[in-house]
Symmetry: C2
Subunit: 274 residues, 2 copies
C-alpha cells in the first residue's frame, strides 16, 4: 500500500527534491497488533528533522488522517510503515521555493524476517570499513542522505553477520548500519554521543529512559574500538527489532556473553507501552 | 521533456533507491548549438561515480541512444540536460539487490537566467555558515546526497549574492554551492584539494587543463579563509556558467579586481571545444 499526499499512488514526479537531492526525512515504524509502535516518538523526530532542515511541513493533520486510514486497511496485519517527507518540488537547483508544499509518502512493507535467535543468543557484527560522514548539522535526524549506510551495509553479504558497526572519520564508534549501539563496561551502560554523526534512534531513547527508571548507571560518551573490544556486554537496537545482543565480532576472536544488563533491559522493554 | 529508462514518463516508483536513500548520481549538462557540452567528461564522471558506489550501470549504450533522441527533439533549443542514474529498486533496506537494474532518468530544463554581468564584472559571494560533510569515500563524485548544498544555498535569498562558498569541518575552503573555486595568489593559480569533500567539477578539470597548456603555475592545495581573503583574484566556475569572477565577499570589506589570470582563462575557455 502506498499513499502519496493522501492518494493511492505508487509513483512521484522525478522533480521531487527527495529524489533530486535527498532533500527530506523518513521514519520506519513497526505496525503490530493494530498499532503503530512508538508513533509519537517517530512523529516528534520527523518534525524535529523538518525543523532542522527548514522544511515547512504543516500537514501533520493530513498525515495523521492518512495513517489512520492505513491502520484500518491493515487491521491485524503485522508490517512496517514507512513515512517519507520531502521538501516537495520547485526552486532553482539547490535553492528551494519557499512556497512549495512538502510531499508526504506513506508505504507499507513486509516485516523483516530475521532469525528469532538474533534477539536471544545474539548476533555476530562486522566492523565496517566505510566511515560515517561528520557533520553536526545533519547528526541525529533521519534524513534521506543515506549513502553512508548503503555503502556500509553492502560491504558484506554473509548471512551469518547480523549487523555492521560504523565509526566516524575520527574512528569513534557511532552506530550500526540500521541500529544504535550500546556497551556495558564495569556495570555502566554507555552509548555513543551523536553530536557529529549517526541517527538518534527511537529505541535508543526508550532504552535510555528505561535505564533511568531502573537507576542503571548510564552515560553518552565518545567510544573507541578499544572500548568496544573491552566491553563486558554489547547490544544493538532499533524500534522494529528491539534489542539484539552482540555475541561476537567478525574476523576477531572477540566474543561476548549475553550479559545481565542486556537481559534486564530486554525484560524491561517487554513491559513498555508501544 | 523527461525519459525514465527510455520512456516518456515524468514519474518513478517511490521504491526507487534514488528517493529512498539518495542512492545514485547525477550530471547537469549545458545543451547549446545542438550539442551537449563536455559530454564525454560528464559521462566519464558519471561512470566513475557508479564505480565508486558499486552501482552496476551497464546501460551506457541505451543512455547514449536516449540522449541522441533528446538532442534531436531539442534541435537548436538552448537548455540544460540532467541525467540521474540510481541503483534502481529492491534489496532489503540499505542492503542492495545485486541483480537490480539501475534507473536512468534524462530531463531537460530551462537554462538558468543569471545576469550577463556575472561573467564580466563578477559576483559577490557569501561565506556559508553550513560546513560540508567530510568523507573521502564520497568526495569528488556527484552523488544524490546533496543536503549540504541545499542547506548552504538556502542560507541566503539576497539576489545580489551570486554564490556561497563552502568550507569543510576543518574550516578549509572547498567549493561553492554549485561551483568550484579557484584563487590566484602571487601569480599562482590554486584550487582546493577535494580529497575529503566537494565535487570534482567538469569546468574545474577544463581550467586545470588550460592552465597546464598556458604554462600557468598551478597547484591543488588546502586553502584557508585567510588564503581566500589574501588572494589577488578569485573566481568560481561550473560547466553551465563558465567562469564568474568574484568581486566581493558579502559582509566584509574585501573586494577583488577581475585580474589578468582570470581574464586569460576566460579568454582561453572561449576557444575550447565543448
Amino acid at each position: 500500500m502506498v499513499l502519496v499526499n493522501g492518494k493511492a499512488e505508487s509513483r512521484i514526479t522525478i522533480a521531487d527534491r527527495g529524489l533530486q537531492y535527498g532533500d527530506g526525512l523518513f521514519e520506519t515504524i513497526a505496525f503490530r497488533h493494530g498499532k503503530a509502535e512508538f508513533l509519537d516518538a517517530h512523529i516528534q523526530r520527523l518534525l524535529a528533522g523538518c525543523e532542522r532542515l527548514s522544511i515547512p511541513f504543516q500537514q501533520l493533520a493530513e498525515l495523521s488522517q492518512e495513517l489512520n486510514s492505513v491502520y484500518q486497511q491493515l487491521g491485524d496485519t503485522q508490517c512496517i510503515i514507512k513515512i517519507i517527507i520531502t521538501r516537495g518540488c520547485g526552486g532553482r537547483g539547490y535553492f528551494a521555493d519557499k512556497t512549495s508544499v512538502p510531499t508526504r509518502i506513506i508505504s507499507t512493507h513486509d516485516s523483516p524476517s530475521y532469525p528469532q535467535h538474533y534477539g536471544q543468543t545474539g548476533i555476530t557484527v562486522r566492523l565496517c570499513q566505510h566511515k560515517l560522514s561528520d557533520n553536526s548539522a545533519l547528526a541525529g535526524i533521519k534524513h534521506l542522505n543515506r549513502l553512508d549506510n548503503v555503502i556500509a551495509r553492502n560491504e558484506w553479504d554473509d548471512t551469518n553477520i547480523g549487523e555492521g558497526l560504523l565509526f566516524d572519520q575520527s574512528e569513534y564508534l557511532i552506530e550500526g548500519t540500521m541500529t544504535n549501539v550500546f556497551i556495558v563496561k564495569s556495570q555502566q551502560l554507555i552509548t555513543p554521543l551523536l553530536n557529529s554523526s549517526g541517527v538518534a534512534g527511537i529505541m535508543r531513547a526508550q532504552i535510555i529512559a528505561i535505564a533511568q527508571q531502573l537507576d542503571l548507571p548510564f552515560k553518552q560518551a565518545m567510544l573507541t574500538q578499544d572500548d568496544l573490544m573491552s566491553a563486558d556486554e554489547v547490544f544493538v537496537c532499533n524500534s522494529v527489532n528491539g534489542i539484539w545482543p552482540v555475541r561476537a565480532i567478525a574476523d576477531s576472536v572477540k566474543q561476548y556473553a549475553t550479559g545481565p544488563i542486556t537481559q534486564q533491559l530486554q525484560q524491561a522493554l517487554t513491559k513498555v507501552e508501544r
